[in-house]
Amino acid sequence: MTAARLLFTKPWIWSFAATVIVWVVTVLFTGGASSLGLSQAALTFAAFSVIVGIGQMFVITLGPGNIDLSVPATMTLSGTLALKLMDVQDGMILVGLLTSILLGFAIGIGNYALIKLLRIPPIIATLSISFIVQSTAIWANRGLRIKPPEVLASFTTSSLFGIPNIAIVALILSVVAWVLLKKTIYGRWISAIGQSTFAARMTGIPVDGTRLVTYILCAVLASICGYLLASFSGGAALNMGSEYLLMSIAVVVIGGTAVAGGNSNIPGIWGASLFMFLVVSMLNTYGFGAGFRLILTGLIIIAVILVAGGRQSNR
C-alpha cells in the first residue's frame, strides 16, 4: 500500500496513466490489432518531442521567466545546414552532426548574450534570436529540400529489436540528462537557481555560468533534434520546427516539471511526449474533425495538468 502511495506522489505517473488510457482507447478501435504498429509509431514520433523537451525542461528549471522560444528556428537551421553540408554523401554524416552541435552552441551563446549583456527578458531575447536564425535558414537554402545521406536516412527510419532507432537515441540522451540532473553538481545548481536565484548567488553558485550552459544545452538538443528530424523525414523544410515550439513546452508541463522552476522531471517528458502523439492519433482514429480535435486536445491537456497538479498540492 505504501509503495502505491509512493508511486502516486510521483508527478510523472499522471502523464503515463493518461498515455496508457489513450493507448488502450485507440487500440480498442481495431480490437487490439493496431497495438504494435501504434506503439512503434508513438515511440518514433515521441522521441523528437523528448529530445527538444529535455532541453526546454532544463531552461524552465532555471526559474520564472526562463524559456527558450528559439527551439523551432534552431531545429530548422540545423536541419537545413547539416543536410546541405552533407549533400547526400555518407562520409559527411559525422561532419553534419558536428556542424549541428556547433550551431547549437553558437545559438545558445547568442541567446544568453542577449539575456545577460543587454538585459533582455529570455522570452524576448530568444524570440529575436529565432527571427535571425529562421531568416538565416531561409537565406541558406531558399527552402529547397536536400535528401539526407542514405545511411543516415535508413538509420533514422529503421529499428532495433522492434524499437525505433530514434527512440533509442532519445533514451540515451534522456539517461545522460538524468545523470546530469540528479548526479552532478550542475544539476543541483540549476535546481537551486530555479528555487531562488538570490539564495543561489549568496551560496556562491556560479549563476551566470550555469544559466549559460543551460541555454547552450537546450539549443544543442534542439539542433540534434533538427538534424535527426530532417534525416528522418527525407529533407529539411523551412517550417519543420514550428510544431515543436508549443510541443517542447507542453511536454515539460504535462510531464510534471514545475513551471515556476526548481523542480524537473525526465520520466514525465516521455509520458507526456507519448501522450501528445497518442491523443492526436486517437482523435484521428475516431474521425473527429480538426476543430473538435483541437478543442478536445486542449481540454485533455488541461485535465491532465489539473489532476497532476492537484495531487502535488496535496502532498
Binding site: T26, L36, F131, N141, G143, L144, N239, N284, G291
Partner: protein, 338 residues
C-alpha cells in the same frame, strides 16, 4: 543614342507582346508585392519567380519598379500596416497574397480610395474593389477523386490528408474531395488527418492513424504531403496505395522511382508558385487601362504518368514544379474571363 536604344527595345517588346501591348502607359508605374509568409518552399519559389519575371520587366521598362515585401509573422494586422506603408510610398498597384480573406479589407479599401489597383492571388481578399486571381481549389480536390474513379472503377478506401486547419484553401479542397466521393460512392473516406502541407507533419499524422485503418487503396492529398504519407506507409510495412502527389520535387522523384521499379501510377496536382507572375501581369494590364473582370481563374498545374519525366526535368532540385506566366498568358486568362 539612349532614346534610340529605348525605341528599339520598345519595338522589340511590342513585337513580342503582341497587338495589345501599350507599354508607354505603364513604364512609369510602380507595383508592389505584399506577401504574408515566406517560410516554406512553395512561397520561396513564388518569390523567386516574381523576382525573375519582374526584374526582366523593369529592365525592359515595362514598369518602373516591382518590389516584393514579406511580413515576418504571417499576421493580418502586420500586413495591413504594410499595405498602409505602400499607400504612403506611392505605389500604383499592389499585388497581394493575403493572410486573411477578410481581415485586410479595411486597408485594401484605403488603397483603392487612394487610386491604387489591388490584385490578390492565392490568398485572395473579399473586398469588392480588389481583383481576385483564384485557383479552382474545389475542382482540384474533385479532379483527384475523378482520376481515381477512372483508374480503379471498383473503388475502395480513401485516406484524406488535409492542410492547415482553419485556412480557406483547406476547406475548399476538402469540399471538392467530398463532392467527388459523393459522385463516386464506390470510394469511402475511412480516415482524415491534417498534414499542414508539410511532409514531416503528414508523416507523423499518417503514422498515427495508419495502424487503425483497414486496407487503403488511395490517398488524396493537398500538396506537400504525399512523400510524407508514402514514408509512413513504408515504415508501417503496408502496401503502397495510389498516393496523389503535389508537384514537389521529392514527391516526383519518389513517383519516378516507383514507376521505374513496378510501374506505379498516380497523378500530381498543385498550383504553380509562378501564379505571382500572372498577378503581376494582370496588375500591369489594369494599369495599362485594360478592362479586366474582377474575378479571374488560374488553371492548376497537373502532372500525369505521361509527362512526369519532362516535368521532373524542369523542376528545380528540392523545389516545386513551376510555371512562370508571360504577358500573353495573362491576356489569355483575362480574355477568357469575359
Amino acid at each position: 543614342m539612349i532614346i534610340r536604344k529605348m525605341l528599339f527595345a520598345s519595338v522589340a517588346i511590342a513585337c513580342v507582346a503582341g497587338p495589345f501591348s501599350a507599354l508607354a502607359e505603364t513604364s512609369g508605374k510602380k507595383i508592389a508585392l505584399s506577401n504574408n509568409y515566406a517560410g516554406n518552399s512553395w512561397r520561396q519559389a513564388m518569390l523567386t519567380s516574381w523576382d525573375k519575371i519582374t526584374k526582366d520587366a523593369v529592365a525592359k521598362k515595362i514598369v518602373a519598379a516591382a518590389d516584393p515585401f514579406t511580413t515576418a509573422e504571417n499576421q493580418a494586422t502586420e500586413q495591413a500596416a504594410q499595405i498602409q506603408n505602400m499607400i504612403l510610398q506611392g505605389y500604383d498597384a499592389i499585388v497581394i497574397n493575403a493572410a486573411s480573406p477578410t481581415a485586410l479589407n479595411g486597408a485594401i479599401k484605403e488603397a483603392c480610395n487612394a487610386g491604387i489597383t489591388v490584385v490578390s492571388f492565392d490568398g485572395i481578399v473579399t473586398e469588392p474593389c480588389a481583383w481576385r486571381i483564384a485557383v479552382d481549389f474545389k475542382g482540384m480536390g474533385e479532379s483527384q477523386v475523378e482520376y481515381l474513379a477512372k483508374k480503379m472503377p471498383k473503388g475502395g478506401n480513401l485516406l484524406e490528408i488535409r492542410g492547415l486547419a482553419g485556412v480557406s484553401v483547406d476547406d475548399e479542397i476538402h469540399a471538392g474531395i467530398q463532392a467527388g466521393a459523393q459522385k463516386n460512392p464506390q470510394f469511402k473516406i475511412v480516415g482524415a488527418v491534417n498534414g499542414d502541407w508539410a511532409q514531416d507533419v503528414a508523416q507523423r499524422a499518417v503514422a498515427g492513424i495508419l495502424p487503425s485503418l483497414p486496407e487503403i487503396t488511395a490517398v488524396v492529398t493537398q500538396g506537400g504531403d504525399g512523400y510524407g504519407a508514402a514514408q509512413a506507409f513504408a515504415a508501417a510495412n503496408r502496401p503502397t496505395p495510389t498516393i496523389v502527389m503535389g508537384n514537389r520535387e521529392d514527391e516526383l522523384v519518389w513517383w519516378k522511382q516507383q514507376k521505374d521499379k513496378n510501374g506505379y501510377e498516380t497523378m500530381s496536382v498543385s498550383i504553380a508558385p509562378g501564379v505571382s507572375t500572372l498577378a503581376f501581369w494582370v496588375a500591369q494590364q489594369i494599369l495599362d487601362g485594360k478592362q479586366v473582370k474582377k474575378d479571374l481563374v488560374v488553371p492548376f498545374l497537373r502532372i500525369d504518368q505521361a509527362n512526369l519525366e519532362t516535368n521532373l526535368a524542369s523542376t528545380q532540385k528540392g523545389g516545386v514544379a513551376n510555371v512562370e506566366y508571360s504577358l500573353e498568358d495573362a491576356q489569355k486568362v483575362i480574355s477568357s474571363a469575359k
